[in-house]
Amino acid sequence: MSEAATTAMLTTADGRPLKEALATAQARARRKAFLLVLPLLLFVLLTFLIPIGYMLKRSVEHDGFSASAPELDAWFAANPGFDYANPPEAAYAALVKDLARMQVEKSTGIAGTRINYTVPGSISLFKGGARAAKDLVPPYKEALLAVDAAWGEPRLWRGMESASSKYTTEFYKVASDRKLTDDGWAQGGDKERIYLYLFFKTFLVSGIITVICLLLAFPIAHLLAVLPMSKSSLLMIMVLLPFWTSLLVRTTSWIALLQEQGILNNLLVWMGIISDDSRLPMMYNMTGTIVAMTHVLLPFMVLPLYSVMRVIPPSYARAARSLGATSWTTFRRVYLPQTLPGIAAGSLLVFILAVGYYITPALVGGADGQLISNLISFHMSKSNWSLAAALAAMLLAAILLLYWLYDRLIGIDRLKLG
């Protein structure tokens, strides 16, 4: 009997081929499942993926100058690699035309601001130039240089050429501590370098916080897992209580507790441990940031650890002991390896949250407790959104890299969040 004949025989009760009926039923089930997750999918798309995509776009796109200087855009496009130190008359003619247009369209501020990102001082230069532009007569080069000699700076022409395209990598260059000079992009001076150092510091501080959280959370989680239910629920409430309290309230309580005239210092002075003149600076510095952030993030370590430890059968440890292992060996060889998924999940969670932390360092960080997120917020408030987006994108890339490393080293499937 041929195979075709066999399949032809299988039909449903009403005579439809079985294969077709099955396919219809499965398609219906898939549609249903898709419709069920659709709200979540839309939510993630609207509130997460689109904003992140928009942010990434923002970091490479700025049309502040290119949209208001069409003549100069065209000239730059037609004359690549011109002499920055001595641009020809045609370039100045295009510039003067654009400046006059900016004055009419009131776009001087936007165009000047765009150039000011890489060449400080450009906003007032553009304003002065635009005001004078309509009265200038050829030769434009001499005329414009007479208005302000800064129009002849090679750095300015480099900046304008780069800004004449809507898309740019300039913000990433600024975000990696590079500065635009007369000879192109160069490493910034020692006194101006800030971003890469802060990235490094942010990761270092987050690492320290993760380790402290792990050391503090491990015994608590173990206790929670082994205590009888009545006692462990009370303990659990004490772990969760700060979790339910507003972040700002917790942070300001730490300020009240740790500042120089605060409760802890007063107590130490009263007990005679330190003198009144040598109160410990525990707030408005790195110590304050680490203490407050560790406290805020501790529950994120306790909960995954607890959920893993709860299901570890105590009989394993007992078996190890009965076979002659010391308590240290039992812990190291039997118990600890079983808690690894919890440790990994908690550490990853705490680390990633710490890297993006903003409000706590802003409130208690003082001068040296600042992290990269504080600078991102600074540039948001100073309306250099593109630079803020570039910094945020770099942070995102670093986190994704860590995630990838984590997946390679430990395996993301071993993650256990509860």
């Binding site: 000011n116 003082g366 001068a367 408030s381 100073k382």
Partner: protein
């Protein structure tokens, strides 16, 4: 269907009610409270709408964000001079027609009554405020109290922590004046790399003893808590702490930096016409005087200063506390300098901070 109709009508009515609320965004604290009391609420009562006051650490950032996002919920905002100029150039603010401004109480035309620079294309000044420093009188003997800007940086003669604003603006100028640069030359000095180095070198001398503040409400609190022995602050906040809470603070009028504070209307404000009406109401001779009676920022109209301003109708004269009455060794903040160099100098400042 009928249910839907009823529901949508109810929602639409609610929308109307919400739209009639005129929202003003200011700086909170004693300042926002004063503007709410003498400007917003009396105007709202007169216009028959609800006036809502919202607070911000600096309204410039949210305003810019709202306009860029096309979702403006604020009708009037109170901004610093430099931000008014910058955002006006960027097209974020509505131009204000000076014709809406009322003439002075004595009949002087508005544009002659306002002091120079206090009415610009997109903003009308509500007051002149100053960045000053103050000390805790319980920490220093009366015969050995700080008197000059230089004393702020003298840790030997005047021990104790210092409070300073975490930002380049006003801090760098103050450091240069304390280093002996005359007010008239401060911005010329700060335009050179050597001048910037000089300002940071001066700040270096107290760097390890500085508590940095960000919001205007913080410095009086730091001073009251004993966290610092002297701090820079907005003069009105100090005044409020001295008068309302009887704090032992003394303002030092030397090396202060003063600036206009302005009402503006963001582009796309939901109630633009009412916003303009509000600004006209608030910036009359009486409106400006009324605010100056509550908080020690100087009124920008000459007619408001004709009679001596007394604190909340008491016998207490505002003159010793008002920036417009204390102009010796004072520096008017230069907005053009700061629109050009804000980003550059703040980057340098942040780098210096974390070193």
């Amino acid at each position: 269907m009928k249910k839907l109709l009823v529901l949508s009508t109810a929602l639409a009515t609610m929308g109307f009610a919400a739209q009639a609320d005129v929202t003003v965004m200011s700086w909170g604290g004693a300042y926002g409270a004063a503007q709410n009391q003498v400007h917003l609420q009396p105007w709202a009562a007169k216009a028959g709408v609800a006036g809502v006051m919202v607070d911000s650490d600096n309204p410039a950032a949210p305003i810019k964000a709202m306009v860029e996002a096309g979702n403006v919920t604020v009708d009037v905002a109170s901004l610093e001079y430099a931000d008014v100029i910058r955002l006006c150039d960027e097209g974020v603010l509505e131009p204000i027609d000076p014709a809406i401004l009322a003439p002075g109480a004595d009949g002087t035309p508005a544009m002659e009554d306002f002091i120079p620079g206090s009415v610009v294309e997109c903003g009308v000044s509500t007051d002149v405020w100053a960045n000053v420093y103050a000390y805790d009188t319980t920490k220093f003997a009366a015969d050995n109290a700080p008197k000059t800007a230089a004393d702020f940086f003298d840790l030997e003669k005047f021990p104790g922590k210092r409070g300073l604003k975490k930002g380049a603006k006003a801090v760098l100028e103050f450091a240069l004046m304390a280093d002996g640069v005359p007010a008239a030359e401060v911005y010329a000095t700060l335009s050179t790399p050597e001048g910037v180095d000089r300002a940071f070198a001066k700040l270096d001398t107290i760097k390890s003893d500085v508590v940095w503040w960000e919001a205007g409400a913080q410095p009086p609190q730091l001073l009251a808590d004993g966290e610092v022995s002297m701090t820079t602050a907005y003069n009105g906040r100090l005044f409020a702490a001295i008068t309302a809470e009887n704090k032992p603070f003394q303002i030092v009028w030397d090396g202060q930096i003063y600036e206009n504070e302005m009402y503006v209307v963001p582009k796309g404000a939901p109630n633009k016409d009412q916003a303009m009406d509000f600004i006209a109401f608030a910036t009359t001779t009486e409106g400006l005087r009324a605010q100056a009676e509550l908080i020690s920022y100087g009124p920008p109209r000459k007619s408001s200063l004709k009679e001596e301003i007394l604190f909340k109708g008491s016998e207490f004269s505002m003159a010793p506390h008002s920036p417009t009455s204390n102009l010796g060794n004072a520096l008017p903040s230069n907005f053009e300098f700061w629109v050009d160099h804000d980003a550059e100098l703040n980057e340098r400042f942040q780098a210096w901070l974390s070193q």
